[in-house]
Symmetry: C2
Subunit: 565 residues, 2 copies
């Protein structure tokens, strides 16, 4: 009797598990059940299809060699039976049967399994907002939704409102703005991408969105959607006012599809997703689950987390493909790695943020280092702001966030790798990373951030965070803000505040007499390197109440005219 | 008495050590001695200055904020005494004195030290070739050399010959070709960049150079340089013929400047560079050395190696700055990481190559995986060929080489990080690397390569290398080359050989009868994914002499018409 493998869910994890199982066990009987009619499409590509960067939705359903992954493809190439437009209604664990119904014919049947795989994915949350069912109100679950949005744009929609400033929301905001629509984003919380970034880093992104003409309404709750006479959406009513709209995307998050699992009595985690062990087995050892419907273990905290991603789903599929054919492969968990693009900015994070550390009670040090992503004199160098967190007591690397036009992805991936091995922060200063001017600086930002943290840990560097400085300014404290930039730089990027004294770094040693010894001095420059140097010089000269502004003006997330001029 | 720190060498490691020491010890007496008149320039930027991408040589000597790092800068900002145009002639270790002479005045003096730092760098090797002293024959040691080459180009030089197909040679070849010169490269060995790549990977680079109009003469030894009537170089005579030239760059490698150290009786390693311990102390504990004049320990092999790089020099400088001021910082060694750009191609490597493994007697498995650097449907996706090596017995990751227009740097850096922690190859399939279509594929090439190796290790995948297939073809062996690509792909990229049978993968299960069961079958496609799938299908159907071509046609380094059509 061949091993009967039944897989529910035809995208990412499911087809991957099926294909891997087939390669490992040529004689297995493999069935793939999918409620839609499309298999194995690249859901992550939908925003780029909306934007027009991907001309045809077929490309999202093709292999790199151009073959469309439909049922015939799976049958001919993989000898996998695909049942499209088929809903799995119930799992009979005792009999080891999946009860399904054809969405076209209504015909019911029961499919026997030896091993069952749940790859049921996640769906965009539909909040109970009056008007959410109006025409031209979308969620982005499926290529058909993307086609719907593209058609709406082709039909002349001009004012889009995105509900939710998460990843999907921002990606579609860019897509629609690029296509010429005026775009507003409504976010309930006080910042964009609240799930991923700290507020200071999110502020840089929000500035960039504003510069690109996207209006962001934070602290705004959507209460209803208004209709025109034809039943199309005409406006979004929020707690802070009404925004005219002829196209609305609701992107407030996704929720794992766990009904089938829950009804079958399988364990569901506190995250709301299916609980699995390191072999990706559910609480029934003959039922595996992977992809967007399961929770993962965070490799740093050891706690469950829910981070649905296509990359993780593919890894899950391979592990499950191994294990349903007798293998013993494990999945070690995730690091909360996220990356996305918003116009000219790359935004990434991995590991723990300040918010995460606060929640977990982990003491940390911050390295906040803006700078170019390659040799500053190389013409394609682009800036970014990198924020690194390190355990204040044991020196462990905790995480990184980075935003900017520069090459964020490379730094995030290096940190993701280091975190997988329990790296110490100082390790990052010692890595033999690839150096040549077109690719990086001789001292990469990662090494620089690690060095800043090491200097803080030993007390050599004494810094104040942008938020702390902002609070001092707002409170009207009496101190000196020492700007050590050149007059040319000051003119080009003025930081206007009554506290400011400007002494270029090269003159500081000669002009010490101009600085008070009885007041706190906060030194700063563009990126904090000279601010730090100034702090060292002043400490060396006996000034004992000196610090520098972490990250300098490039990392300053607030308006440059901090308070009254 | 302040700590007297004397540093010999004013570029990269030296100034870094000086600046770090100053920040840590405000009262130290720090002297920086440099034989030239420029301090702290970015030597790695010289090829880009020649190319014109960097308009002024001043940019190579400036901080990111635009301050020129001259003697006044070091004095005013860092309180470091700079002695330019000063040659350190002799170290008196007993008296702790450095004897120096001013190159301008001829004045001699002796500078006392408590801690001495040797950062004497390396110079381009000048081979004993007749004519090497002709006009318009250059080496690239110094910004003045770069200016000389730029002037020669401005004065109308049109035919450049580069002696040596190493990094500097290739970078300058691109620079000069971009400026419109016809460029030839002469290399003694049978391949380009022999120090860094395996022959198969170097072949891809050599193809690219040819496509960009650069003529590469391998296996060619330069015997002399010919002059015109004005004493300018006119031709390069090699073992395979004479090449007309009005500009010649000799770039056959660099040699560490160790005379001062050797004369002082300090230990010199087998690599020819100064031997240092993990604190970067020479055999005299009061004398430190770093940068291009020292050898490093390879973190994988534990053996000394000589890999001079600006990034390493900067790390050395920081470690030395710590240690000469009472610190206890160590340098863990290098991984032989190298990256460079050649026209539209990025070329990188880290860890061990096949050549290295052969030399060290390490058994290895190869993952040879061409593919796009981001989601294949994303418009900016670019290809590369990635070659991963894994220990055949213990599964340790050994190294990676990658070439192509795609984002090589990120993959090299991830592997450099993983290798620093003694990674297993399989770890790379489990890393939570940042995924979104503009940055990577859901299954990154690194994970793919690791999976290929894992499949080989378990016997699921059975592959043949391009070199092995080439040898079979050349030997006229009787076997079947099974091309499983679609007719459209075959037409677009024909692989013409009498052995070839074309059965698209989707038809393979139906057309098994067309294949012989008594002959070896080598399956292939564009990138080897379907070739592997075909191998699995055929194994499953009882064909027992089947393998696939590693890396498919994209990784095939030979002409596509392998033998007779």
């Amino acid at each position: 009797m061949p091993n009967k493998i039944v897989i529910i869910g035809g995208v990412a994890c499911g087809p991957k598990a099926a294909a891997r199982a087939r390669r490992l066990e040529p004689a297995a009987d493999i069935t793939l059940i999918e409620r839609g009619e499309l298999f194995s499409y690249a859901g992550c590509g939908m925003p780029y299809y909306i934007q027009g960067e991907i001309p045809s939705v077929d490309e999202l359903m093709s292999t790199p060699a151009g073959a469309v992954r439909d049922a015939a493809f799976f049958k001919n190439v993989k000898a996998i039976r695909c049942m499209g437009r088929t809903l799995a209604e119930r799992i009979d664990r005792a009999q080891k049967l999946v009860h399904v119904v054809s969405l076209d014919s209504g015909e019911q049947s029961a499919i026997p399994y030896d091993k069952l795989v749940l790859a049921t994915g996640a769906d965009a949350v539909l909040p109970p907002i009056p008007g959410a069912d109006l025409k031209h109100v979308f969620r982005l679950n499926h290529p058909y939704d993307a086609e719907g949005i593209r058609t709406a744009v082709a039909n002349g929609c001009q004012r889009a409102v995105i509900v939710g400033a998460g990843l999907i929301g921002l990606e579609v905001a860019e897509a629609l703005a690029t296509r010429g629509l005026s775009v507003s984003i409504v976010e309930m919380l006080p910042m964009v991408v609240p799930a991923f970034l700290d507020a200071d880093m999110a502020a840089h992104l929000q500035k960039h969105l504003a510069a690109k003409g996207v209006t962001v309404h934070t602290n705004a709750c959507v209460t209803s959607l208004e209709a025109d006479d034809a039943g199309r959406v005409a406006g979004v009513v929020t707690s802070t006012g009404c925004i005219a709209a002829d196209l609305v995307l609701i992107a407030i998050g996704v929720r794992p599809n766990v009904k089938l699992a829950r009804d079958a009595g399988l364990d569901i985690g506190d995250t709301g997703a299916i609980k699995v062990n390191i072999h990706l087995q559910t609480s029934d050892p003959d039922i595996y689950a992977g992809g967007d419907c399961v929770e993962s273990i965070h490799r740093l905290t050891g706690k469950p987390c829910y981070v649905p991603l296509g990359s993780t789903a593919n890894k899950h599929g391979r592990v499950i493909g191994d294990n349903v054919t007798g293998g013993d492969t494990t999945f070690p968990g995730v690091l909360g790695t996220v990356i996305f693009k918003a116009f000219d900015m790359n935004i990434g994070r991995v590991g723990l943020s300040e918010k995460d550390c606060a929640k977990l009670g982990i003491p940390y040090l911050v390295g906040l280092t803006p700078g170019p992503d390659r040799a500053h004199y190389y013409p394609t160098a682009k800036p970014m702001v990198l924020k690194m967190l390190s355990h204040a007591e044991n020196g462990s690397l905790l995480g990184v966030q980075a935003v900017g036009p520069g090459d964020v992805a490379k730094r995030v991936d290096v940190v993701a790798t280091a975190l997988s091995y329990g790296a110490k922060t100082q390790d990052l200063a010692e890595l033999d990373l690839a150096y040549a001017p077109p690719y990086s600086s001789a001292v990469d930002l990662l090494a620089h951030a690690a060095n800043v943290i090491s200097n803080k840990a030993t007390g050599v560097a004494v810094a104040i965070s942008p938020a702390e400085l902002k609070a001092k300014l707002d409170a009207g404290e009496d101190f000196v803000l020492l700007d050590v930039r050149s007059p040319k730089e000051v003119a080009a990027m003025p930081f206007t505040d009554a506290h400011v004294v400007n002494i270029p770094l090269g003159m500081l040693r000669a002009r010490l007499a101009e600085l008070p010894r009885d007041k706190e001095i906060v030194a700063f420059c563009k990126i904090s390197v000279r601010g730090y140097e100034a702090q060292r010089i002043l400490h060396g000269e006996g000034f004992d109440n000196v610090c520098f502004l972490d990250g300098g003006l490039m990392a300053w997330p607030y308006p440059m005219k901090a308070v009254t001029a």
